[in-house]
Amino acid sequence: MRKISIDPITRLEGHGKIEIFLNDAGEVENSYFQVPELRGFEKFCEGRLAEDMPQITQRICGVCPEAHHMASAKTLDDLFHTDPPSAAKKLRELFYSSFYVTDHTTHFYILAGPDFVMGPEAPVAERNIIGVIGKVGLELGGAVINTRMQNHHIIHMLGGRAVHPVFGLPGGVSKGLNEEERKEVEQIARESVEFAKLSLKVFDDIVLKNKEYVDMVLSDAYTHRTYYMGLVDENNKVNFYDGKVRVVDPEGKEFAKYAPREYLDHVAEHVEPWTYVKIPFLKKVGWKGFTDGKDSGVFRATPLSRLNAADGMATPLAQAEYERFYSTLGDKPVHQTLATHWARLIELLYAAERLLELSQDSEITSPEIRTIPTAVPDEGFGIVEAPRGTLIHHYITDERGVIKKANLIVATVNNTAAINMSVKKAAQAVIKPGKEITEGLLNRIEMAWRPYDPCWGCATHTLFGRAPITINIYNSEGEMIKKLTRD
């Protein structure tokens, strides 16, 4: 048995490692995606004040603290039986839409884009954001940087800090917008909508008009037939901030639709001895191992999943793109993992349109942004869609609002089983006996997990222009027979 290690995989929420085992024939026997770290939030939140949870739980992830901050603030509304003023809910959603614009932009252009714009087997020195800008032009490159910067400015304006915001409270937010700030947000939103439209055109020109890419997107190596999960509004349209969780089966039929309070009837977490991360699955289907299909409880929670689980988008331009997505790819649900990148851009457009709508809302500058809770706190549930999946917070407190129990199902974690399966399938497709394992082939394995957007899609990765991977291949005696390092 030979073993291939990819260690550390860094662009993840927490640290990560992939082990690939080859059999004596040189084929991929199995692979393991390991998360070697635990911090124990679910324990040490006990004893903390409930109202501190938005700021404490966001330290789970400094890449998407906004998602934890929102899920936690919503859990507190429920816990304290309080309903924030309408303006406060809109401000939270505005803040969150802005976060989505930055996050999806970062992922598409900086992390995933290079594979398509430059090509999956392009020289590593070119397969980065610098290469992308060279190919698509400085103007678009500037727009990428500008969009991120401007939307971070909105996050800072409302949240109080650039990383780890502070404005979420039970019953509302600590800070609102004045008219001057509102105008600034509206202008940024307009530019973000144009940017999202342009991004979809870039995807058309570079990916959809290239038969080789389309074939790769549609290939079996990057396909899994699973259940799909996503938050929807009352019209079953995609929503990031609020609504019910809808799950569709691999045929696209609604399998479940539930409110945050009911999550325990639907989601359970399996434990494996080789990783610190738990593995969520659909409780009513059951854990059947790392396998897809209707009989396996494995589900996915990604931009593609959200589109599959919904009936459409709530804004006009994104809705038109949604329709084009399914008419181009044929069936719904779409099972091709690589189509997640396209779905992400449709969500980018929706987030920008929603940001614009909210910035023009007559209520958005209202000073009525807090309700002071008066009821005795007991138990609260809150769900948002994080960019990387459905995020669940659940707290139980004593009558003073001190946390007795906390349960957290974190976004990226939802896709643990699917990422494992995707890596294995892509590895099986590209690693063949007698065929040299080149850097380009390894990148094709990486492309299997990149659509899930594990957390480390950071700008520097591309500044330095390479994914951090070394692959060591061992023979059955444990001797290294090949080493491949990117430099």
Partner: protein
């Protein structure tokens, strides 16, 4: 001039420090002009054993973020200390243990029990827990050993400087990088920041040295926009927290929670904060004081939010 050799590493942390390092924006290009980044798992492809092979003191500066929660993190901290001329604790977790340091109120067993057995969504009939070594059918799989106690970097190796914050604000990061680039380094042990005084000194809110009869929780009142939050009865840690951040939280109408660590000249931030809080209580009657203090249901999480692991308390004794 030879380029500075810089290493960046992350241990038990959230990634917010990396985001903060990236937020120096365009200045990162200036950094790349004068410095070679020799190790940064987030960004570049140098593996652990490549670092192991470097001669001692061959790295000029290591910026280390995150606390020490497991065996791999301890190993990396010690190795990077040996390889680096200057070791910097970047952020609240490296300097004080940070929020994950609150794990010291429990132990490994209790944390595992909660995460892998007790949480209501967990389905684990065979009581499986993650193992440092596991024999899979295809071969051995390893993960680091989870420690009983979180330690800060300061408690683990000799540290030369601290860059405070959860995460450090952009201006703090750049101040430190400028010092490194210019070679004008402050005395060993310095907390690098724009203001050596407390956060109050950065804060535009007015202080009247007013005393309080009652403490409020953040959700219970809407504070006046221009008056000191502590004087309005909110437990603002600004008074016991190192300045330099610019006081962004009080300006967003929320109390400082202490992420920049202890004020210069103090070592135990929580004790200092507690003392400051006691001094604003408007009473000399022990019973009345007790009643005011009873309004603080989570003293450890309030006073030691980011510094428990590195404090005099360090950890809870678990019976």
């Amino acid at each position: 001039m030879a380029k500075l050799k810089v290493a960046l590493y992350w241990a038990a942390s959230c990634g917010g420090c990396e985001i903060a390092q990236l937020q120096i924006g365009d200045k990162i290009l200036k950094l790349v002009e004068v410095a070679d980044i020799v190790f940064w798992p987030v960004a570049i492809d140098v593996k652990y054993k490549d670092v192991e092979a470097m001669p001692d003191k061959s790295i000029d500066v290591c910026l280390f973020n995150g606390g020490i929660r497991n065996s791999e993190q301890e190993h990396m901290a010690k190795m990077l200390r040996d390889k680096s001329k200057v070791m910097i604790a970047y952020g609240a977790c490296a300097s004080g243990g940070g929020i994950p340091g609150l794990g010291n109120l429990f132990n490994r067993e209790l944390i595992f029990e909660r995460a892998y057995f007790e949480t209501p969504s967990t389905d684990n009939p065979n009581k499986v827990t993650p193992q440092p070594k596991y024999q899979a059918p295809e071969g051995e799989l390893t993960i680091p050993e989870f420690y009983n106690t979180v330690s800060s970097l300061l408690q683990t190796v000799d540290v030369d400087y601290i860059i405070p914050g959860c995460p450090p604000e952009e201006r703090t990061t750049w101040l430190a990088l400028e010092a490194l680039i210019s070679g004008k380094l402050p005395p060993k042990g310095t907390v690098i920041s724009h203001n050596a005084k407390a956060v109050c000194d950065d804060c535009p809110r007015k202080k009247d040295v007013k005393k309080v009869k009652k403490f409020y929780r953040t959700f219970q009142i809407i504070p006046e926009p221009e008056i000191c939050l502590l004087e309005q009865g909110l437990l603002c840690a600004g008074v016991a927290t190192h300045g330099g951040c610019g006081a962004p939280c009080p300006q967003a109408n929320m109390p400082c929670t202490g992420c920049y660590g202890p004020v210069e000249g103090t070592t135990d931030q929580g004790a200092h904060f507690l003392g400051a809080v006691a001094s604003v209580i408007d009473s000399n009657d022990p019973e009345e004081v007790q009643k005011v203090i009873d309004d603080i249901p989570d003293p450890v999480g309030t006073f030691y939010r980011y510094s428990l692991a590195d404090s005099l308390l360090r950890r809870a004794r678990i019976k």
